[in-house]
Structures are given as structure tokens and as C-alpha cells.
Symmetry: C2
Subunit: 205 residues, 2 copies
DNA sequence: CCACAATCTGACCAACCGGTCAAGAATTTT
DNA sequence: AAAATTCTTGACCGGTTGGTCAGATTGTGG
């Protein structure tokens, strides 16, 4: 009697169906938000019956929390890859470009997070404190050292990080607006060039 | 037999109660999104009974649309106030500061819009095309002329506008995250100084 | 091929949701 | 103060939602 819920070993069927469910749930949750999404929608998108979905997850909220936790790591990977031994300006610009790339490749993940934060992070709040904050503090300290060494212009590291997040994720989260206003132009190519210039101008000592 | 729904003259009671309802609805919608909000929540927040709310508005969607339309004007006012005859850099920086100020003073309005756009602008899409787009096109053209006259550095006006929106509204929309990471610091004062430097560095010819 | 566990589903349920309605209470008009 | 109109509400309704459960079906190890 295995519980699919726990983190124990999973059979091939469990692996396959859990993946299906999470994939479908990402679609639905990112599009309609937590309360706007329904289990029936997720079930249909996953090609499973609703009771079957509740065989693999204890409830709607468990699916949502699992999604957010699983995604958090991938979402923070670019920041973890900033190399303290690298050339500061190039490291920051590489980070900006990777974040912009993720906005294009994983817009659903971006919107899922945005939805959660917008509503006050009711289900991922603790994770922010325990996982996100230490990483950001560490990165901010690194940037601070780079600035003190005269290798970057003097800016507030935290606001720098906020503005990088804001400017890159904007293209995923506010895509509906961007599409109306850009109207056909190659948005991402232009964004890459613009953001490169923006942060190069700001950070060049 | 007046219909409170129409744009006709409104009695004092109608004015007061419509205002109460919209105020309460702004609270609830901005916190939970459209589908996440319930008429019962709005009714309780407004101190009115549910049927009474439906006496003033034809339905949940009508309240939401009214909110969005009423807010759109106030939201775009700072962009309308950019003075074509002013000093370009100062005009842009003033716009940035006004937008940041609105993020602090009207975070609920910011989140209401963010929620709507995140979900694909299903209820305000036409408004984006008919109201927002012409204004943005006009402003972008103005910035383009300033650039051609050598009074601003050469940047893509549309991406400049996107980045101003992203960086300023971030402090309202992602407040839950910012609060965790900033932890006590005076966020808005720091943001104002940072954004001033950011756009000054970028735009100075 | 058999026994046992794992997987799956139709039928069902209580709670909630947006919205209606008839009738009562309050206000304004005459 | 009577009549007419506006405002308010308790009771109710059909549909949806998250979740349950008994039992059927499928997969698996011996």
C-alpha cells in the first residue's frame, strides 16, 4: 500500500501521471490563478478523471504547492550561476539575458509565480523567507563587494535585482499588453538589445 | 423608476452606495482576482446585502468592468502630462517618479490591472487597443523626436516605456516579495533614488 | 494463472456561487 | 399624510466546485 502522496519511490505509472497532472495544472493555474482554476479543467487537460487526480494528490492546494516548490529551484538557477570569480559586468548582463530567455521559454512558470505573489504569497510565503531571501542576500553582498572594489558603478544591489526581475519578467507576465502595443515587432530581440544597453549604462563604473 | 445601472442622474443614496461598492470591490478584486472574488465578500466589505449590491450593478462582471474603466483614466494621467515642450530628460524622470508615487499610493489599483493583464486582459482588452495604444504610440513618437533631435540617448521608446512600467509597478504588484527581501528598509525612498539614477544614466545623451 | 496490491471510475454529496424575486422598509413627491 | 417611488432584504434556485467512496479494472510478483 504505497501512498503516491509521499516522497517515497514511485512506480512508472505514478511518475508518468504525476508529471501529466503537474503539466496540466501549470497550464490551468498560470492562466486562471488558483481560485479561478478548477479540478475538472485540470483533469480534462491531463486526460485523467477527477477522482484519479485526487488519487495522486491530496487536493487542489497540494498540486499548487507542489508546482510552486518544484519550480522555485529552476527559477532561481540563473541567480545561483552568477560566478563570483567572473567579470562583474559580464556576469550581471549574462544573468539579465538568462532571465529574459526564461521569460520567453517559460512564460507559464513566470505567470504562476506572479499570480501567487500578487495575492500576497499565501502558499509560498515561507519558501520566500527560507530559500529566496538567503540567496538574494548572498548575491546582493557579492554585488556590494564588486562595487566596493570599483568594478561596478555604485547602485543599491537590492533595487538592481528588483529592476532586473521586473524588466525581464514583464515580457511574460504582461504579454497581453505588450502584444497589443508592440503589434508585430520582434519583441524579444528588441528587449534583449534594450536591456543590455540599460544595465550596461547603469553599471559601467 | 430609475435604473441605477445607467449613466443617468443619481440620487445621493445611489452615489454613496455605488462608491461603497466600488471601494469594497477594489479591495477584494485586487486581492483575489476576478474569479477568486465573491459577491458575498464584496457585500460584506461594503456593508450591504448581496441582493442590494445587485440592485446597483447588473452583476459581478459589471462591477469589475466599471472599476477598470474608471481607473484607466487616472492610471494613464501621468503619461498624458508629459509635456512635449519640456526638457526631455526631466519630463521622463518626472514621469518615472509619478508612476512610482502611484505605486505607493494606489497599490490596489496597480494589482487590479496586473491581475487583469496576467489573465490575458479578457475584460479590458478592447480598451487597451482603443485607449492605451494611441496614447503610447503618441508618447513613443514624441520620445523618438526627442532622440532624433539629440536631446535623449538613442533607445527604443516602446521598451523604455515597458521598463518604466515594469520597474515602478513592481513595487506595488510584487510587494509581498519586496517586503520579505527588503526587510525593514525604506523601500520607496531607495527605489526613487535607484530609478532616478537608472534612467538618468540610460537617457543622458 | 493466481492472489494481491495498485490504479481507476461512476455516482454521489455538502458547500458555495452568482443571481432572482416578492414583499417589506424607507424616502421623496404631491 | 397619502401616494408613489426608491431602496433593502430574507428566502430561494439552478449550477458548479472540491472532495469522497465503494467497487471495478489493471498491473505485478510468485
Amino acid at each position: 500500500m504505497n501512498r503516491p502522496e509521499g516522497a517515497a519511490r514511485r512506480s512508472r505509472i505514478q511518475q508518468r501521471n504525476r508529471k501529466r497532472i503537474l503539466e496540466a495544472a501549470l497550464d490551468i493555474f498560470s492562466q486562471y490563478g488558483f481560485r479561478g482554476a478548477t479540478l475538472d479543467q485540470i483533469a480534462e487537460a491531463a486526460g485523467l478523471s477527477k477522482p484519479n487526480i485526487l488519487y495522486y494528490f491530496s487536493g487542489k492546494e497540494a498540486i499548487h504547492v507542489t508546482l510552486l516548490n518544484d519550480l522555485m529551484d529552476a527559477w532561481l538557477a540563473p541567480m545561483r550561476e552568477i560566478d563570483p570569480a567572473g567579470e562583474p559586468l559580464e556576469e550581471i548582463l549574462r544573468y539579465v539575458h538568462r532571465k529574459l530567455e526564461m521569460s520567453r521559454e517559460f512564460p507559464r512558470e513566470s505567470r504562476l509565480f506572479a499570480n501567487e505573489i500578487l495575492q500576497g504569497a499565501p502558499r509560498i510565503g515561507p519558501h520566500l523567507t527560507s530559500v529566496l531571501k538567503p540567496l538574494v542576500d548572498e548575491t546582493a553582498a557579492l554585488i556590494g563587494r564588486w562595487i566596493d572594489a570599483g568594478r561596478l558603478a555604485r547602485v543599491d544591489p537590492y533595487h538592481l535585482i528588483f529592476s532586473i526581475w521586473a524588466t525581464t519578467q514583464h515580457y511574460a507576465d504582461f504579454d497581453a499588453q505588450v502584444q497589443v502595443l508592440a503589434e508585430g515587432h520582434d519583441v524579444h530581440e528588441g528587449a534583449a538589445a534594450y536591456l543590455d544597453m540599460l544595465y550596461r549604462q547603469l553599471l559601467t563604473p
